[in-house]
C-alpha cells in the first residue's frame, strides 16, 4: 500500500473544518447557519476519530462516530424544534435578536 | 333529485386488510390485459368476427353520431340553392361566445324572397362553444348544428368560416331539421 495518506493530513483536514465551523458560529447571525456550523464541527471530529481508528486498527472510534451521528440527530431535531418555537414568538432567525431568554 | 351518498361504507375485515382486494383488482386488470393482448390474434386470423376491443379505431373508423349531437353550426342551403338566412341577427345576439358575425345587406331581388340577406356571415369556430343557442334562436330554420366535429386547423385564422364555407345543402340536414322542429315546437315560439 504505497502512498498512504499520513495521519496528520487527516488531522489537518479535521482542524481546518473545525475552525471553519467555529468561525461560522462566531460570525453568522442566522441561527440555522450557526446550527450547520455546529454540524461541521461534529463532522470534523468524526474525521479525527476515524483517522485515529484507521491508524490504530481499532473499531472504537467508528462506534464513537456512530454515536456522534446519533447525538447530532437528536440535537438537530430538538434544536430546530426550539428554533421553530422561537420563530413563532418572534419571527426572525437572527441570533442577535434572541437576547432575552423569556417571552 | 338530491342523491345522498353513504360515505360511511362498512367494510368487512377481509376488505379492510386491503391486500386481497388489491390483488383481486389487479387480477381483473391483468385479465383484461391478456384478453386484449391475445384477443387480436383470432380476429386477425379470421377465426372471429369481432375484435376483443370494442373501441372505435377513430380516424380509420367513425361512428354515426346521434341526431341530437351538436357539431359545428352550419347554414342551410334550401332547395333553391339559396341560404334560408334572412340576416335578422337573432343568432348573433343569442350567441354567448360572440362568434357569429353577420353583415346584412338590402335585398336587390335576386338573393331571396325577403328584404334582407346576409352579405357576410362568419362563424369563428375557435370561439364557438357549440351550445346550440343560435339554432334555437333562428326563426327561419337557417342555422343548424351539424354532426361534423373535425374542425381542427393549424392556424387560428383558418378557423373563421365565411358564408360559402358554412353553407350546407338542406338534404344533408334533414334529420336535424326534423329534430329541431320536434324539439322546439312544444316551447311555443
Amino acid at each position: 500500500m504505497d502512498g498512504f495518506v499520513p495521519l496528520n493530513h487527516y488531522l489537518l483536514l479535521s482542524a481546518t473544518l473545525f475552525v471553519i465551523g467555529v468561525l461560522g458560529v462566531l460570525l453568522r447571525r442566522n441561527v440555522i447557519v450557526v446550527f450547520m456550523s455546529i454540524e461541521i464541527m461534529l463532522n470534523a471530529v468524526n474525521i479525527s476519530l476515524i483517522a485515529f481508528d484507521h491508524y490504530l486498527n481499532n473499531s472504537d472510534g467508528q462506534v464513537f462516530s456512530f454515536m456522534v451521528m446519533c447525538v447530532a440527530a437528536a440535537e438537530v431535531s430538538v434544536g430546530l424544534a426550539i428554533i421553530i418555537s422561537m420563530f413563532r414568538n418572534k419571527p426572525t432567525v437572527n441570533l442577535d435578536e434572541f437576547n432575552i431568554l423569556k417571552w | 333529485m338530491a342523491y345522498t351518498v353513504n360515505r360511511n361504507v362498512k367494510l368487512t375485515l377481509w376488505e379492510r386488510i386491503y391486500l386481497p382486494e388489491i390483488i383481486r383488482g389487479m387480477y381483473i386488470t391483468t385479465r383484461h390485459f391478456f384478453i386484449n393482448l391475445f384477443g387480436f390474434v383470432p380476429f386477425f386470423l379470421g377465426q372471429k368476427k369481432h375484435r376483443e376491443i370494442f373501441t372505435v379505431y377513430y380516424p380509420e373508423e367513425t361512428v354515426k353520431y346521434p341526431v341530437a349531437y351538436r357539431g359545428r353550426p352550419v347554414l342551410a342551403l334550401n332547395e333553391n340553392n339559396l341560404p334560408n338566412c334572412v340576416a335578422c341577427g337573432l343568432c348573433e345576439i343569442a350567441c354567448p361566445a360572440y362568434c357569429i358575425d353577420i353583415i346584412p345587406a338590402e335585398n336587390t331581388g335576386k338573393q331571396n324572397e325577403v328584404e334582407r340577406w346576409p352579405k357576410e356571415f362568419t362563424i369563428d369556430y375557435a370561439v364557438c362553444i357549440f351550445c346550440g343557442n343560435c339554432e334555437e334562436a333562428c326563426p327561419e330554420e337557417a342555422i343548424f348544428m351539424s354532426d361534423d366535429c373535425e374542425i381542427s386547423m393549424l392556424d387560428r385564422s383558418k378557423m373563421k368560416y365565411n358564408l360559402e364555407q358554412l353553407l350546407v345543402p338542406i338534404d344533408q340536414l334533414k334529420d336535424r331539421v326534423e329534430f329541431t322542429r320536434k324539439m322546439y315546437a312544444k316551447w311555443n315560439y
Binding site: M69, A73, A74, L80, A81 | -
Partner: protein, 118 residues
C-alpha cells in the same frame, strides 16, 4: 477494498455527465422566446395572489424529525441484522429493549397526534 469503488465512481462521473449534458442540451437546443406574461409562474392562468414563500404546517417538520430519529434507528438495525445470527439471544434481547424504548416514543407521538393528518 478501495478498488471496489472505482466502478461506482466512474459511474457517478458518467451519471453527472449524462445529467449535465441533458440540461445543457435542452438549454441549447430549445427556442428562447421571453415575454413578461409568459414568464409568470403557472397558476392556471390566474395571477399569483399568494406568494409561494409562505410558511407551511409544522406537521411536515414533525414528520421530518420522526424520519431522522427512525432513520438512526434503522441504521442501528443494519449491523445488528447482519450480526443477528452471531449475537443470538443476547442480541435479540438487546434489540428488544431498543425497539421497546423507541416504540414508546412512537406511541407517544401517535397518541399526541403527531401522525394525524386531518
Amino acid at each position: 477494498m478501495l478498488e471496489q469503488y472505482i466502478g461506482a465512481t466512474v459511474m457517478f462521473i458518467m451519471a453527472i455527465g449524462i445529467a449535465c449534458g441533458m440540461v445543457f442540451m435542452t438549454s441549447v437546443l430549445g427556442p428562447k422566446r421571453h415575454f413578461a406574461e409568459k414568464m409568470e409562474p403557472f397558476e392556471c392562468g390566474e395571477k399569483q395572489i399568494v406568494s409561494p414563500h409562505q410558511r407551511f404546517s409544522v406537521k411536515f417538520y414533525l414528520v421530518a424529525v420522526l424520519f431522522v430519529l427512525f432513520d438512526i434507528e434503522a441504521v442501528f438495525f443494519f449491523p445488528w441484522a447482519i450480526l443477528f445470527k452471531k449475537l443470538g439471544m443476547f442480541g435479540f434481547v438487546e434489540m428488544l429493549f431498543f425497539i421497546i424504548i423507541l416504540g414508546v416514543g412512537l406511541c407517544y407521538v401517535w397518541i399526541k397526534g403527531g401522525l394525524d393528518w386531518e
